[in-house]
Symmetry: C2
Subunit: 216 residues, 2 copies
DNA sequence: CCAAGGGTCGTGACAGTGTCAACCGTGCCC
DNA sequence: GGGCACGGTTGACACTGTCACGACCCTTGG
């Protein structure tokens, strides 16, 4: 008897998340396809459903609405981002390099997949309270926290400024990515995002690490 | 006769900016009202038109479409932002304070009017090539450039790094504002945006200004 | 003084969107 | 077999942005 593919009966009922895993996966992949083909504004549940070979109301049934589906899509993006940052952080020889590498990887991830990145942070079209989404976010930012800790171990970050340095680093690369999307930088800066991200993150990390003792 | 006859579409399109200034002004003000009442997702041309006391298609006629109207609204926002930054920059005693003050004012403007700020940078729903919009952007960022120039005159910014420092400063405050909106900072940092912005911008400006000579 | 015309805006219609109630088919268990 | 819960479709609804058409007003020419 082919009972092997039976789904967990009670859990599926308890959680709001229903639907077959295959259909949900197909829809999530279709989101990326439609996003790449039609752009951010051209994204619609109906196109996604058609791309996935399902009926037009399938996203609503399987996820519970547009926001819920995009939230799941965004959570997957945060997990992918976390893997990239983790890889960058581990390869860095010291704290300064780690901070710059994580920041650079952040920007390059955003530039490489701008649509996904923008969906990830468009919290007005998402469900920011979703526990899965929140967990993915927290997991994604662990590499940055590790890089900060390395700076603390190396002595160029004081315990009292951990929060500020972390937030400043995150803001820096997040803002750089956002400005890159917004095209406000077109013609204003060098067009190579890789070199640009490296310069900016090294400027920041280097300035923080090599401060003169009397910073007011 | 089903054949539409000699209507000249080019003549009607000759002047993009048509309509009375009053109606356009009323619509732009209505954008702010609807935005405040319904949020970013609740914004629609029909609600704006109703709020302004006009017909549902008035925005399309008077501006040429949703994107054009929002672009004009965004341009007004950039002009207001420029005034705030200019004021902050002029009151600062030296370059470091100017850079921090401009950055702090940037964040506070964004926090004070989050919806307008988000519309200003949502370039996928705007017309980023609009000359009026571009001029307003450029004008809005003059104070930041002046602050950087003060730092250069004071000797803590080299000529070769003007571009990088400018972009880093802008990215920092822009990212901080964006992260604030995205609610990813909720519970993570101090809830007072004024104090937070001051700390972050002073950390950045102070680190850049008081670097040890051997950076890297 | 009146008719014509161009600009300003309302009206109606259309395709497309997200969401929901109602509806089937299919496998499961008593 | 007879429910029956699940996975998904169908159909409908309100709402959106956009466009063609028509009504009104102010100017202007004869």
């Amino acid at each position: 008897m082919p009972i092997g593919k039976t789904t967990n009966p009670t859990v599926a009922r308890a959680v709001v998340r229903s639907g077959t895993a295959q259909s949900r996966r197909a829809l999530l992949e279709a989101v990326g396809v439609v996003l790449a083909a039609e752009g951010l504004e051209g994204l619609s549940l109906r196109k996604v459903a058609a791309q996935a070979g399902l009926s037009h109301a399938a996203p609503g049934v399987l996820f519970g609405g547009r926001a819920a589906m995009l939230t799941e899509y965004a959570a997957e993006g945060f997990r992918a981002l976390g893997r990239r940052l983790d890889q960058a952080e581990r390869q860095a020889p010291d704290g300064v390099a780690a901070l710059a590498a994580v920041g650079s990887a952040y920007v390059l991830f955003a530039v490489a997949e701008p649509l996904r990145f923008q969906v990830m942070f468009r919290t007005d079209t998402l469900l920011p309270r979703d526990p899965d989404y929140l967990a993915a976010c927290r997991e994604g930012f662990l590499p940055l926290q590790r890089a900060i800790e390395r700076g603390m171990d190396e002595g160029w970050i004081a315990v009292g400024e951990i929060e500020d340095v972390t937030l400043a680093a995150w803001s820096l690369v997040h803002g750089l990515a956002m400005l890159w999307f917004s095209k406000h930088l077109a013609g204003r800066v060098s067009p190579d995002p890789k070199r640009l991200a490296a310069r900016i993150t090294q400027l920041f990390a280097g300035s923080i690490a090599h401060r003169a003792p009397a910073t007011k």
